[in-house]
């Protein structure tokens, strides 16, 4: 074995860059403790899927990361910078690294499709309008809606709206993309198109994805790590092949047999 051929592990190989870290995160809604001292770490470039029964805290994690809600306790760190607790100014900076796609799309109905995508790059990243529009057109091309630039979002089908929402999130060039049950509100025949697009994005970009989904096929396909949630805790995690075919916990087995 020569020195040349032996694979020298690079630093990133042995210590993959951690992009998202939650430590001791607790979230209560009234008397209901949704997350109970959760620790979670996501490495850069990973595609992580959160599965589990509803009310198990999956969506809450995404909402905490997007700062749509605040934890009662614990710390959240993104790319080495504190997101919570942190002063508002820092939150704004760190938040630029995170994008989110919602179940209900949440496009701005008062703006054209193009404006939906250019608004934040112009206002937040300080991009020129021309540059933002050129980029928006590229992204619309990517999501297969190049001809819908001037349309109002309400004129589009659910699947098209969700693809615009994905383009809008990508326009901010986030490091992490949070996907919150992005196909749950779609008609069955529109689901495949959106999932195919996300699969493409997962394959062709180095964006880190955290997704909450009930589409187990998609989860198996896209993710390199699956986290099984129950009652605010991760009860099992591993590669999808393992979790879906040979789970260790009975609770996971029960859940999967109920949804598959």
């Amino acid at each position: 074995m020569s020195v040349e051929t032996s694979k020298q592990p690079t630093v990133t190989d042995t210590h993959p860059t951690e992009l998202v870290r939650l430590e001791g995160v607790t979230k209560r809604f009234g008397d209901n403790t949704v997350l109970d001292g959760l620790d979670l770490s996501v490495e850069a470039g990973r595609h992580v899927t959160l599965i589990g029964p509803s009310g198990s805290g999956k969506t809450t994690i995404l909402r905490l990361l997007m700062t749509l809600t605040k934890p009662d306790d614990g710390t959240i760190t993104v790319d080495g910078e504190r997101l919570f607790p942190a002063p508002e100014k820092q939150v704004r900076e760190v938040r630029k690294k995170i994008g989110m796609v919602f179940q209900q799309f949440n496009l701005f109905p008062n703006m054209s499709v193009l404006r939906n995508i250019t608004e934040a790059p112009v206002q937040v990243l300080g991009m020129s309008r021309d540059e933002a529009e050129a980029r928006a057109r590229e992204l619309l091309d990517l999501v297969g809606l190049a001809d819908k630039c001037d349309a109002r979002p309400t004129r589009l089908s659910g699947g098209q709206q969700q693809r615009v929402a994905i383009a809008r999130a990508l326009a901010m060039r986030p490091r992490v993309l949070l996907l919150d049950e992005v196909t749950s509100a779609l008609d069955p025949e529109l689901v495949a198109g959106v999932l195919d697009l996300l699969r493409d994005i997962a394959r062709t970009t180095d964006i880190t994805m955290l997704c909450v989904t009930h589409e187990m096929g998609f989860a198996r396909d896209i993710s390199d790590q699956v986290l099984m949630f129950d009652a605010g805790r991760v009860i099992e995690s591993g590669p999808p092949e393992k979790i879906f075919s040979d789970p260790e916990r009975d609770r996971t087995r029960e859940f999967l047999s109920a949804v598959l």
Binding site: F102, N106, Q123
Partner: protein, 216 residues
């Protein structure tokens, strides 16, 4: 009692003067009430209760006292404090202020009707708060409240005759003056009655056209 067309034609020149004043008071009063109402609604959403509390008390007070009393107060009391305005300016201010306490409720409802998802999307895109208001929330809220605001324009129109009590010669003031001079009441009052109906009707047509444009 018989109808006298001569009285009508004699009244008409004064009627036009009165109509102009009525429309002026209505337009400026509406503008003021729309602007002030929005200001109140936004102030009521600031996190500081040192802002919300006084705004709440003042607007509640204004809403729950009669416009007529406010007109008298502004017209007769303010000059005692050294603040003198023309009768029309005082009237416009009173109507605008009074109705702003109603339009603020309309704006509030409109703002609350914007789905939470819109705020969340704005946060996810990191839009600054000011931009979120001006580009996302208010355009959607205002679109929703145009019909309700329009109804207040018509209500304001019907309250403009109150300006008569502070010597503003709008339509009713002109009619009354004419009646007192000529002892003819039917004709001038009928003319301004018809005018009120026509203005209301035109305003509602305009409003519906605006609604159709906005609600697409």
């Amino acid at each position: 009692m018989k109808w006298d067309w001569n009285a009508v034609s004699e009244f008409m020149p004064r009627f036009w003067d009165g109509l102009l004043v009525t429309l002026e008071a209505l337009a400026l009063g509406s503008l003021l009430s729309f602007t002030l109402g929005l200001v109140w609604a936004l102030l009521m959403r600031t996190p500081s209760r040192w802002v919300r509390w006084p705004v709440g008390v003042v607007t509640e007070f204004v809403r729950n006292t009669p416009l007529l009393v406010q007109l008298f107060f502004l017209f007769y009391v303010l000059p005692e404090w050294g603040l003198t305005f023309s009768a029309l300016a005082t009237g416009v201010f009173a109507i605008g202020l009074h109705y702003s306490t109603y339009t603020m409720q309309v704006y509030r409802a409109g703002i609350e009707a914007v789905p939470a998802g819109q705020w969340e999307a704005a946060t996810a895109l990191n839009l600054p708060l000011r931009r979120t208001w001006t580009a996302v929330i208010l355009p959607q809220a205002i679109r929703r409240v145009v019909p309700a605001l329009g109804n207040y324009v018509i209500a304001m129109l019907k309250d403009t005759p109150m300006l008569m009590v502070i010597t503003v010669l709008e339509m009713l003031g002109r009619a009354r003056l004419f009646s007192q001079q000529h002892f003819q009441f039917t004709e001038p009052l009928t003319v301004i009655g018809v005018a009120f109906v026509l203005i209301s009707y035109l305003a509602s047509l305009l409003l519906r056209a605006l609604e159709r444009r906005l609600v697409r």
